[in-house]
Symmetry: C2
Subunit: 150 residues, 2 copies
């Protein structure tokens, strides 16, 4: 993708996420769906489309591909999040929170995400380094970063 | 988009965000770039592509379109986030944080986001309802939501 502001971290992440299918592949892997056939069946995605999305995520260092073999069958592959991939969890959960708030049907959110340690619901919060929680109506502003003047 | 798990809130948000250009349009509007010509120039995006992305974001209820007129010129439009659009700020900031952590060049992150109230840097955190902060290595799990059995 070519855009003037391509140095932006949002742009770089958007390039990795690519499109909606890519985000859904990540969501499934995060939820423990790791094998090609399981992903294809769960997503209802064409196999060639899934192959391309998985290859791009591996190339971007977000997923790693590991061989496995079931008795009497040929070798296959499963996919796991790398540490960089696990760092995308807040992106996926922030997307889930927005969908829950603005697109959930009359039956409410289809899933909720829990803290494995204590079972309480997980939410995405914005906080500043001073510890203030930033509420949805409150303003944030972008300023030049730590980048050295060039 | 057709996918088996289309009831998922992540899928619904991914449909709204659409593609990388859409995310960058949102980022710019969030940063105060609101007019069509300014967006087109800043993003380096073809005008017909920008027109379609803006129309989709208005249709999705994320942006609102307001007319303005400068002296001696014809009426034009600018775009502002709706309340639902402001709720996408955590998604954009989570994407920025990932790009800063995993794709920033040697010069460091190009921008930082501050709490307008106190000037401290804003970060995206995962916390559970018990107030525990969830660190990147820690596990979260998805469970069926509040949806009624049907």
């Amino acid at each position: 993708m070519a855009h003037e502001s391509s140095a932006c971290s949002v742009a770089r992440t958007a390039d990795v996420l690519g499109d909606a299918w890519t985000v859904l592949v990540l969501r499934d892997v995060l939820n423990g769906v790791r094998r090609f056939d399981d992903l294809a069946a769960h997503l209802g995605i064409a196999r060639n489309v899934l192959t391309r999305r998985l290859a791009a995520l591996v190339e971007h260092g977000v997923l790693e591909r590991t061989p496995y073999r079931e008795p009497g069958r040929r070798e296959r592959h499963e996919y796991r999040l790398t540490p960089a991939g696990r760092d995308l969890v807040p992106v996926v959960l922030a997307m889930m929170a927005w969908g829950d708030a603005h697109r959930a049907g009359p039956d409410g959110p289809p899933v909720r995400v829990e803290h494995a340690g204590c079972g309480a619901a997980v939410r995405v919060e914005l906080r500043c380094a001073e510890g203030h929680r930033i509420t949805p109506g409150e303003r944030v502003r972008s300023v030049p970063g730590t980048r050295r003047a060039g």
